[in-house]
């Protein structure tokens, strides 16, 4: 009798995901990311109607059917992010200035696909369409430390996909979204010290989830009728992740000899914790216009069902009195993307791209806070590509202009002021076709 090796189907993608690096902070609105391919991003992501390379797995799976042969596409990105905050009264007061730790993230999207005669194709993609890290500097003095000092959400999407041309004009594709994710949340704990009549910092709680699992799907269609106009539509389903993990409570001695023992007596033990975060459904409709072989223009309308993020609940197994319910009440949000691509004659080795998008924040003023300060974004992109016989290389840069966001005095934790978000994004796509 032979021992059959135990099949561990999830090991490989997890290892690959770990290799590919971590996602950065959200660069689409909310905690969404869109940095899944340099060719698309050079056009501000307006690619739904024309997606035709392996990054179609993300941008529109129908487009994958246009491949011929095997193709590998690696899209490393560099995202630089910083947030600043200026406070107002009554809390934390005028003159307060806070900032996040400067972050540079290298998220990578990776695709492998194989097409047959530009009729049928299948492939897999690994990427992070969501993700977030906000870490505030000087956490021991940070005035928002009782709300959040660090939040990080890391999902990996593993997306096997297939696509088929139904006829010359109409193509469809679909994929499964197999998602691993973990979340980390950190903050300080306050207590009112009646001996001093002051609020004191009595410790920290760090929540670290295990890798948790969820599934969803995506699907797309491309319709290229004769003529110069192309249409595309795509949909990605919601994936709700229920996380389990550990909460690590650490007491901090205040030095008040009367009060510290009282804190010790009621301080929560390290314990199991659960929480839940949704990655909302997204839809996109694109229309492209190919005015001549050299020029293509596209406009996309994206819609994200952010309304599913109504609250963030953290439940502690042993001390439910410490449970947290943060009311988020996000609303569904649109983003509009327009882009242009120039490639002389449609066959020249070099191509050039530019684009603009407007991304509406889904976050109401009441939720703009240390956990995640979000704002409307204007993105302006430039890109360039080189098309070789079997290799392609694309590069893009994206400047994000985010108008300062005020909490309008409505912050749910009474931590009010104005946030300024700055970011810079750049990336490459390296493609290799194995004919």
């Amino acid at each position: 009798m032979t021992t059959r090796p135990r099949i561990r189907p999830f090991t490989a993608p997890l290892a690959l995901a770990a290799m590919l690096g971590l996602p950065g902070v959200a660069h689409a609105a909310g905690y969404g990311l869109y940095e899944m391919g340099a060719r698309a991003l050079g056009q501000a992501g307006a690619f739904t109607a024309r997606a035709d390379d392996p990054s179609s797995i993300y941008f529109n799976p129908a487009g994958l059917s246009r491949l011929d042969g095997q193709e590998l596409l690696l899209s490393p990105n560099l995202i630089v992010f910083k947030a600043e905050f200026a406070g107002v009264s009554p809390n934390p007061g005028y003159g307060v200035h806070e900032q996040t730790v400067d972050k540079a993230f290298p998220p990578v999207a990776a695709y492998y696909a194989r097409g047959v005669g530009r009729k049928f194709a299948a492939g897999i993609g690994i990427y992070n369409p969501y993700g977030l890290e906000v870490q505030w500097a000087n956490p021991d003095q940070y005035t928002g430390r009782y709300i959040s000092t660090r939040s990080k959400i890391t999902p990996f999407y593993f997306v096997p996909t297939a696509a088929v041309a139904l006829n010359d004009r109409l193509r469809v594709g679909a994929g499964a979204n197999i998602v691993w994710s973990n979340v980390q949340l950190e903050r300080h704990i306050a207590a009112y010290d009646p001996f001093l009549d002051q609020t004191v910092d009595v410790g920290t709680v760090k929540l670290d989830s295990h890798d948790s699992f969820g599934v969803g799907f995506n699907a797309g269609v491309q319709w290229w009728p004769r003529g110069k106009v192309k249409f595309g539509g795509t949909y990605r389903s919601k994936v709700a992740i229920d996380y389990t993990g550990r909460a690590d409570f650490t007491q901090r001695i205040t030095g008040d000899a009367a009060f510290d023992p009282i804190v010790s007596a009621t301080f929560p033990p390290d314990q199991a914790v659960t929480t839940s975060i949704p990655f909302p459904a997204q839809g996109s409709l694109g229309i492209a216009y190919q005015s001549c072989p050299s020029w293509a223009f596209e406009g996309d309308l994206n819609y994200t069902w952010w309304g599913v993020f109504d609250k963030l609940e953290v439940n502690f197994a042993q001390t439910p009195s410490r449970n947290l319910v943060a009311v988020e009440n996000w609303k569904n949000a649109i983003n509009v993307r327009v882009g242009a691509e120039y490639r002389k004659g449609g066959t020249a080795p070099w191509s050039y791209r530019a684009g603009y998008y407007f991304d509406e924040t889904p976050q109401p003023a009441s939720g703009v806070g240390p956990l995640l300060p979000d704002a409307d974004r204007h993105g302006i992109s430039l890109g360039v590509g080189h098309h070789g016989a079997s290799t392609t290389i694309h590069a893009y840069t994206l400047w994000l202009i985010t108008p300062d966001r005020s909490t309008e005095g409505k912050n749910r934790d009474d931590y009010n002021g104005t946030y300024s978000l700055g970011s810079f994004v750049t990336g490459l796509s390296l493609g290799q076709n194995f004919h």
């Binding site: 600043e84 905050f85 200026a86 406070g87 107002v88 009264s89 009554p90 809390n91 934390p92 007061g93 005028y94 003159g95 307060v96 200035h97 005035t143 928002g144 009782y146 709300i147 903050r187 306050a190 009112y192 009646p194 001996f195 009549d197 002051q198 609020t199 009367a258 009060f259 009282i262 302006i380 430039l382 400047w399 202009i401 300062d404 749910r412 934790d413 009474d414 931590y415 002021g417 104005t418 946030y419 300024s420 700055g422 810079f424």
Partner: protein
Amino acid sequence: MQMHRTRRALAAALLALAIAGCAKLDPLSPPATSTGQADFSNYVAMGTSVSMGIQSNGLLDQHQLTSVPNLIARQAGANDGVFTQPLVASPGIPNLLVLTSLAPLTFSTLPGTPPSAPHVPRPADGYDNLAISGAVVAAAIAQSTGSPYFDLVLQGQGTMLRQCIAQHPTFITVELGVNDAVRPVLAGGDLTTLISVPTFATLYTQLMDSLAAGAPNALLALANIPQLTLIPYAATVPPVVQAPVGPGGSLVPVRLRDAAGPLPDGTLILLPAKPLIQAGYGFPAPAPALPDSLVITVAERAAIETAIGGYNAAIAAEAQARGAALVDEYALYDGIYKNGITIGGVHYTTEFVAGGLFSLDGVHPSDLGSGILANTFLAAINRRFGARIPPVDLSQLTHPPSAYALAKAGR
């Protein structure tokens, strides 16, 4: 030609983006204070112990500095920055309560001999903060002596009303009526101390008429009365307690009683009953019953709450008639009693001692409670008079090192 134009456009776009990418946020300064139609050049406060700055059963300068009128004056830049109060040095009058232990809950008092007089002398025309602990509306109108606090503030120079008018005020805050309603609460529901709503309304109107006649140019902010049956002093001790009187000394619920019998739900037992209950009072006979002076029955409570509703209707009517800002303390405390209040992610409640919003006597607001109340005044004043007076920075009241802590240290 075509390419040249493209390049220029690209260069311009790059430059614009580089500039936008360097945006930096500077700390915010308070917007310029504007008092709108209100004139704070001569601000006088009339009120009760809450406006006076009483905390933890005594009057002490460090808490007088966070009195509601002093915070309002500071925010509004009133009286050219000099708002006089009868500041009292440590250990206070009388010696302030000090928490010595949470479990068991024990208090002592600040050591020392109370001063005989404030260390800020009375200006010739009277203190700007004329609030007096214990002042009912009738006393504000007519009483000039007769208790240590009246003498401390008024110093024999006439009533609170008269000294207010004598200063030719441009703005007056009136925080009166609380004592009319709290008297029967502190007296264990003795309704003989509760004046009728028509009597209260008449007195309040009389006060307003006097101000209108004596200080015709003054604008007013009138505070109404919070629900006083829910202050920690009255709402902390439940009618059913856990006592070790079960088999083998196990804890079982025991419904306390007064002379009339077991206390139904909704009965209020005052804080001073706590040591008596620990000594066995209120348990089934032959244990002694809880004294009536420490128990507010359901009927007494209803009468007090009804009266507060009536008093507040009278205050609202006067605010409407006089064009005054109405400071809705009732609504503020209604929310706080139910939900507490979150400031910077920290939750504060009205729980006795531990909640952070009341001082150690369970009756008077803490520094933070006072700051929240001052912001409610300022919001009402801003709304009514088109003013833009910035709110009190509450973080200075919750976290050291603070401007107030420094002010206290340097007093």
